[in-house]
């Protein structure tokens, strides 16, 4: 059903929590407690986000995670890539070893790429700040987003 993984969903929630306290280092357990998500999984999500360079983790006592950029400078696409890997609608898009038996039918590949790019762009255009706009009033209201929402 063209669904993205629950991890990405969690990722946005976790990032949202970090964004709500921009100057406060929060531990994984802390974030888990405040979001109600399973603690161990939150740890894994934050790890992946750190690997992706979206958050910076400092260890040791009084350690924790911090957003490495401002929410307006982080796109949803980046969160998706950090947690689910590169966006690839079909097996043909990335260089996966797929059983595209007949070569002729696989000429569709180019067309899937176009669809893939369109979806990627849609994800890139929405920033973390846009996602959180209903929650906290950062800046101007979420213009295009608001009219698209029913």
């Amino acid at each position: 059903m063209l669904r993205l993984s629950k991890m990405t969903d969690y990722g946005v929630v976790v990032m949202g929590r970090l964004a709500s306290r921009p100057d406060e280092r929060q531990s994984a357990a802390d974030v888990a407690a405040n979001t109600g998500l399973p603690p161990a999984t939150v740890g894994q999500v934050l790890k992946a986000l750190a690997t992706g360079g979206l958050v910076s983790g400092t260890r040791g006592a009084q350690g924790g995670y911090l957003l490495s950029r401002r929410p307006e400078a982080i796109s949803v696409a980046e969160i998706v890539v950090a947690l689910d890997g590169p966006v690839a609608i079909t097996a043909c898009v990335e260089g996966a070893d797929d059983p595209c038996s007949v070569e002729a039918t696989c000429l569709l590949k180019g067309s899937w790429d176009a669809v893939n790019i369109a979806i990627e762009d849609a994800l890139k255009q929405v920033t973390l700040a846009d996602m959180l706009a209903p929650l906290f009033q950062f800046n101007p209201p979420p213009t295009e987003l608001r009219e698209a929402t029913p």
Copy 2:
């Protein structure tokens, strides 16, 4: 990794095969033989496409499937919906019973909807004819698609 199911991928290939012989009724076994896809699965794909109204199946001897509309009038979005169900990026988008523990965080829902709609639009804009353009020369060249493809 934001991947759509293999069934949808098959669906486009199957539809492509039907489109290549617009006036010839082809059985599921026939399509399977010509595409190299597993026969039983092709049958299931065609069943779903028939339910979605994209193809019309006639039973009995000499029976088979036929596209119910011209390829230019069939969008990829319709194929996705027929095979994978409605496009729903996250659990929150459709009315699924999800464990969105803290209500505050679920205010993100509205924003996900916007992303969801953007993706849906991207799928709607591409027709079956566009997908098959590299294969058969239907009409004019696939304009926007071609420049998006690397």
